[in-house]
């Protein structure tokens, strides 16, 4: 009482907040609450460590509107989910999956359900807190030491002095009649400052300003141009400092990024100095014989037949007569400009040196592309061997058949 430097702490009668009564059991609290309610008070409340069974009726507490808030939030969540999924997947960015309808409700149900629950749950908690006036940092009851047991084991009843029916003496009598364990006058709180702590206010201002900063930077970035690369926190190899082919490179005098090979450079494994095997030439003329590397055998012939089937038949046909599927299709389309593939069994090709045939396969001719890059040289020779066999089969005479077999052909 003698704290001169804290004059506000001294309670005065005018600063009475209310009268607090303490009870030991929930039953006592309920009977006290019934009496206070019957006396017609409005600004009063009871306090307990757990929800007391029956106190709502005793105090006449009306049903809260919270369930309606929850329902409203749930419907909002449902509506949000429907419009979000429709707008994003069927309208703004139509997401076509295997030709199915863009807007198909059943597949969107799980997210509708989840957002309904999410919106409802958040609203339930926030709504409960707001309706209850929480957070509620300070209250005159905080200054009453015995009131601390409200979260432990005691039950309290408070009638506020602000109630129109409140009269210090009469109300005290009413409370005494409820047989409380203790009664105490609660002074108005003059100890706790009314304002928020200055530091907290400044911190909030700083945090709010800082929170606007990233948004402001994003807005600026969207409405301005720059030569600098985007800031990538995670690079993901997006930026690769290198010179691409065909680009300018200031390091070299000619300014070209891709360099030409030095004269005489040979890549490893690409010396290919055997003219006969790799180019089909012997002494400056087309070779008339197969090179030594190619074995004249049934295996080579089978290989050649197989490779011919893969690479040549689409145009030249199974028998090599220039009537493959591609040709037939081109004829059917009749768009003009199509040159029929050669019949590989015709006479001038029968007489063509194998080296020249090899060169044709390797580098192509007319609208036949070069097959050198696709078919290894030994396979090219094998194909030529098979082509020679085809030519023989188309232009052969009975004399070409061994005598022992001639009987079967007659």
């Amino acid at each position: 009482m003698s704290d001169d430097h804290k004059p506000k702490a001294e309670p005065k009668a005018a600063e009475l907040h209310g009268i607090l009564a303490e009870y030991d059991t929930p039953d006592q609290l309920i009977s006290a609450a019934t009496k206070v309610r019957n006396a017609g008070f409005e600004k009063w409340d009871t306090y307990s460590p757990f929800p007391v069974h029956g106190i709502d009726e005793a105090m006449g507490i009306k049903m809260t509107v919270l369930p309606w808030l929850t329902l409203g939030a749930g419907l909002t969540g449902l509506f949000t989910a429907i419009t979000m999924q429709w707008w994003m997947n069927a309208y703004d960015y139509p997401w076509l999956v295997s030709g199915k309808p863009l807007w198909s409700i059943p597949a969107n149900v799980p997210i509708m359900f989840e957002l309904t629950v999410l919106f409802s749950a958040i609203t339930t908690l926030v709504g409960m807190l707001m309706l209850n006036g929480l957070p509620h940092p300070s209250h005159p009851l905080d200054l009453i030491r015995r009131f601390g047991r409200v979260t432990d084991d005691k039950f309290f009843l408070l009638i506020q002095a602000a109630d129109p029916k409140f009269d210090e003496t009469d109300t005290r009598k009413l409370i005494d009649a409820t047989q409380p364990v203790a009664v105490e006058n609660v002074p108005e709180d003059r100890v706790t400052p009314d304002d928020m702590p200055k530091g907290l206010v400044y911190a909030l201002i700083v945090v709010t300003c800082a929170a606007v900063l990233p948004v402001a930077l994003a807005v600026k970035a969207r409405h301005s141009r720059t030569d600098k690369a985007r800031i990538h926190i995670i690079q993901d190899m997006d930026s690769q400092p290198k010179y691409k082919a065909q680009r300018e490179n200031p390091i070299f005098a000619d300014g070209r990024a891709d360099r030409e090979a030095l004269p005489g450079t040979v890549a490893v494994g690409h010396l290919n100095e055997d003219d006969h095997f790799f180019r089909g030439r012997v002494g400056g003329a087309w070779a008339r014989t197969f090179p030594a590397q190619v074995e004249l055998s049934d295996e080579t012939m089978a290989r050649g037949k197989q490779r011919f089937g893969i690479y040549c038949t689409p145009c030249h046909g199974q028998a090599g007569q220039g009537d493959g599927m591609v040709h037939k299709r081109a004829e059917a389309l009749a768009q003009g400009g199509w040159i029929q593939p050669s019949n590989v069994t015709q006479e001038y090709l029968r007489n063509m040196p194998v080296g020249e045939l090899f060169n044709t396969i390797t580098n192509g001719i007319r609208n036949m592309p070069a097959y050198g890059p696709q078919i290894p040289p030994e396979d090219r020779w094998a194909i030529i061997m098979y082509v020679r066999a085809l030519q023989k089969s188309q232009a052969g005479t009975l004399n070409d058949v061994p005598e022992s077999e001639r009987g079967s052909l007659k």
Partner: protein, 477 residues
């Protein structure tokens, strides 16, 4: 009128000696003690070590790329998804206890609901990490959120994996809200019992000025009921959606309509096993034997045998349908589970999930804490293997024998799996030390003096009458 020197909001109230005060004492003692028991330190040390391994192995996987794991075609999902489904399933028991048992008026839940809810949240946190690192670029999961981006693209809402994002994040959010709301009155108790200013301030901030006003309790109870009613279908939806990840695929062994209920039953089964695994040591070390009694453990054992039988039924029904459905691929898949290269995993699963829980038929097993703990741990192992069997046997033996394979995890897979327990237990031990481990206000309400567990005495009618409501109950008496 109080003396001026008494007018200090930072003072401790006197302590009582009644039944309510004993409950408060029992729970706040852990927070009030200057030091936790030695066992807590040992456990925390182990958990922190495992946590370090967890983040270390994840960091290594992120730095090097996920090639450090055993994931290889055809088993691309492998450990990360096995662990994801395992952990998300664990969480479900917490919601079951806090929401479904609440709606079913199983009052015994008050002793265990708080830390079952905590378990849910920590398990969901562990679960969420695995798909996050499994995508290989853990900085890109925001692609799956509807955020405007430079690509001008939106998520594909007709994909089960996208449903998963919404289901799991909603589940995590709602679980945290429910958990937090349940703790507000208990935070207020902690605030009022704290002796140090810093504790009082911290608990005071999270208690938000809760003072136990009846007008506030009224809305609080409504909100609690609403959240329970929302969480109940939510928890069923979450594991159903997780099962859609599998069930909407064409793969034999996955493409089954039984998956949603089968997954939910398994989740509750495994979750209860984890609750038991946590409850037994927690009551032992923190002196909560009077609050979490043998009866509670026995009831949980009964839930485990019930859900265990559902899981066993699902295993059997999968076989029946694979035969009845007449698909040769399905038929092969299930024969392959029994006798194929992963038969060891299948039989581990069957013995852990179907055979061992049968011991709970015996009352002396159900009432022996160590037997319950042991069987709970066995079920944890079994439920992990269930997910392993579903993912690995189906993926390694699908339609084309040319794409068959065999999956073997690497040491980093094991370190990440083991390490996730480190995250879980670190959070759980911190929770035990600093947060109200038991819902004091609910336990008090259901104590003999609390008035909720006995018949109505006051002659009033209608609501506010069972612990957290409800109107329909009023007609029952």
């Amino acid at each position: 009128m109080a003396a001026a020197s008494d007018l200090n909001p930072f003072q401790s109230p006197p302590k009582g000696d009644n039944m309510f005060a004993q409950i408060t004492d029992n729970v706040t003692r852990i927070m009030e003690a200057p030091k936790p028991p030695r066992a807590w330190y040992i456990a925390f040390g182990i958990a922190l070590t495992m946590l370090t391994i967890f983040f270390g192995s994840i960091g290594w996987a992120v730095w090097n790329g996920i090639g450090v794991w055993g994931n290889m075609m055809p088993v691309a999902w492998a450990f990360p998804i096995v662990n994801f489904v395992f952990w998300i399933g664990i969480g479900h028991a917490g919601t079951l206890i806090s929401a479904i048992l609440f709606l079913l008026r199983q009052n015994w839940r008050t002793a265990i609901n708080r830390f079952a809810e905590a378990m849910t949240i920590f398990a969901v946190m562990c679960a969420g990490i695995f798909p996050g690192v499994h995508i290989g670029r853990p900085w890109l999961p925001y692609y799956m959120m509807p955020i405007p981006n430079q690509m001008g693209m939106w998520p594909q809402y007709r994909s089960p994996l996208e449903w998963d994002i919404f289901a799991v994040s909603t589940y995590a959010t709602v679980s945290i809200l429910f958990w937090y709301m349940g703790m507000i009155p208990d935070f207020a108790t902690f605030r009022d019992r704290s002796t140090s200013t810093i504790k009082r301030l911290c608990y005071g901030v999270v208690a938000m000025g809760w003072r136990g006003s009846s007008r506030q309790w009224h809305r609080y109870e409504r909100a609690y009921l609403l959240l329970a009613a929302l969480a109940t279908p939510l928890v069923l939806s979450v594991h159903s959606v997780v099962s859609f990840d599998f069930a909407t695929a064409q793969l034999p062994g996955w493409h089954a309509t039984i998956f949603p209920p089968y997954f939910v039953a398994g989740a509750i089964f495994g979750g209860f096993a984890m609750v038991v695994t946590l409850a037994v040591p927690a009551r032992q070390f923190f002196g909560l034997k009077r609050i979490i009694t043998i009866r509670h453990l026995e009831l949980m054992a009964k839930v485990m045998i019930a859900t265990g039988l559902m899981v066993g039924y699902s295993y059997g029904m999968e076989f029946f349908i694979s035969w009845y459905g007449g698909s040769s691929y399905e038929g092969f898949t299930f024969v392959n589970r029994l006798f194929g290269p992963y038969a060891w995993a299948y039989w581990t699963m069957i013995s852990c999930n179907v055979i061992f829980p049968q011991l709970f038929w015996f009352k002396n097993v159900r009432t022996n804490v160590w037997a319950i703990l042991l069987i709970g741990m066995i079920v944890n192992v079994g439920m992990w293997f269930e997910r392993f069997v579903i993912i690995c046997t189906s993926l390694t033996r699908d339609f084309l024998p040319s794409s068959w394979g065999y999956y073997l995890p690497t040491k980093f897979d094991f370190m990440t799996l083991g390490g996730s327990f480190g995250l879980f237990f670190t959070l759980f031990l911190l929770f035990c030390r600093y947060l109200p481990m038991v819902a004091m206000s609910e336990v008090k309400a259901f104590s003999p003096a609390g008035g909720h567990a006995r018949p109505h005495l006051h002659g009033h009618h209608d609501h506010g009458h069972d612990e957290h409501q409800t109107d329909s109950h009023a007609h029952a008496h």
